[in-house]
Amino acid sequence: MGLSTQSCSTASRRAVMLALAAVPGVAALAAPGASEPVPQQVQVTAPLPGARDEKTLAQLLAARDAFERHHALAPDATLAFRLYARFDPQDLARLQLWLVDGPRRTPVPLDDRQRFALSADWTSALADRGAVLRTNLPDGAVAWHVDVRSPGMPDDLRRLGDLRLECEADTFHGNLQRGLRTPISAVLDASDELCLRDDAEAWFAERPIFGVALVDGPRRRTLPYRYLHGSNGTMAMAALFDWPYALRDRTYFLPLDDRSWPDGTNVVFDAMDDPQPGPSP
């Protein structure tokens, strides 16, 4: 607020001076000499920054608590948080992140996939003081996601237990993804059954996808198209979710309600730019 007031008053003074300079008589009085050229003035203005995309540290610590409660889903996995560009992929090139604790602002390094891990210094006392993780991008430009990875998994493969754990840590615990918070969701959350709904969590593949399959040894299920690209829902409330814009061609859901698939199941992606498969033998 102090910055805003100061900037406004400075701008007002400049505006008055320019207005006075535009009146011929006043300009002549203000000029050092009638024959001397009046120095040119350049006024540079910039809008004050609006709200930045951010999450509270309390949300991230809640996600960590849920991750630890459900760690059996992926015993070897580590927890991180990942930022996606929700509207424009070019935003990733200028994305920065800080921990903001009152007047103090500490940069948070991101890896090459815009991920960061919780620091040991980020305590619950800090969260209680209202600390936030704040980006330099406008509010709404970033999709935040819990990122759980068991070691050794390549880009085109995810482990189902890792994704189940991401859901447990995120949905209604860390509460990071955008979505509708309905009364029935609150009931399911209270009974720890929210991640048994197949629309509980939206995931984003590394590349645009045309198919997703669950593979457990010889058992394989190619998911119906309703699990991809948000194709099963109406776009009427799309703005309330993370996936409808830049991330839509990478978006998939999973049949979380089908517990017959073990946590070690592979989630395999068929990329849009992969060639058309040949006929089945």
Partner: protein, 130 residues
């Protein structure tokens, strides 16, 4: 309304809707098989106009890249919307629903890049189901 009468009404409703089917496009999907699809949908060659003429207009999903998918579906039995009807949905969501689905992917020039054709049982799986 007594319980027996309510149960009877539910059973009649379930039987009535179970006889139906639903489809998207011009209905050709019903008989479409893999060899025929390979002839109709040639990546790099077949255009949106070709597909519309052959299969009708599918449900369109557009992406920021300019690419898009057209989805065609044929479902036997009860339409999925009945699952959302109180009480009736308890019955209909557990009925077998053989479903055939074709998805065609077009690039930003409107030319086919990929397609997939599959059949599955679209029965709802509820927590605790075998």
């Amino acid at each position: 309304m007594n319980t027996a009468r309510l149960a009877c009404m539910l059973a009649v409703a379930a039987l009535a809707v179970a006889a139906g089917c639903s489809t998207a496009g011009n209905g050709r999907l019903v008989r479409l098989d893999d060899p025929e699809a390979r002839g109709l949908l040639v990546p790099g060659t077949t255009t949106q106009a070709d597909v519309r003429e052959t299969l009708g207009q599918g449900s369109v999903i557009r992406f920021r890249s300019g690419w898009q998918t057209w989805q065609y579906q044929y479902r036997e039995g009860v339409a999925k919307g009945w699952d959302e009807v109180p009480y009736v949905g308890l019955v209909t969501s557990r009925l077998a629903r053989p479903t055939k689905e074709l998805v065609v992917l077009f690039d930003d020039h409107g030319v086919v890049r990929r397609w997939s054709l599959q059949q599955f049982d679209d029965r709802e799986i509820r927590p605790g189901s075998p």
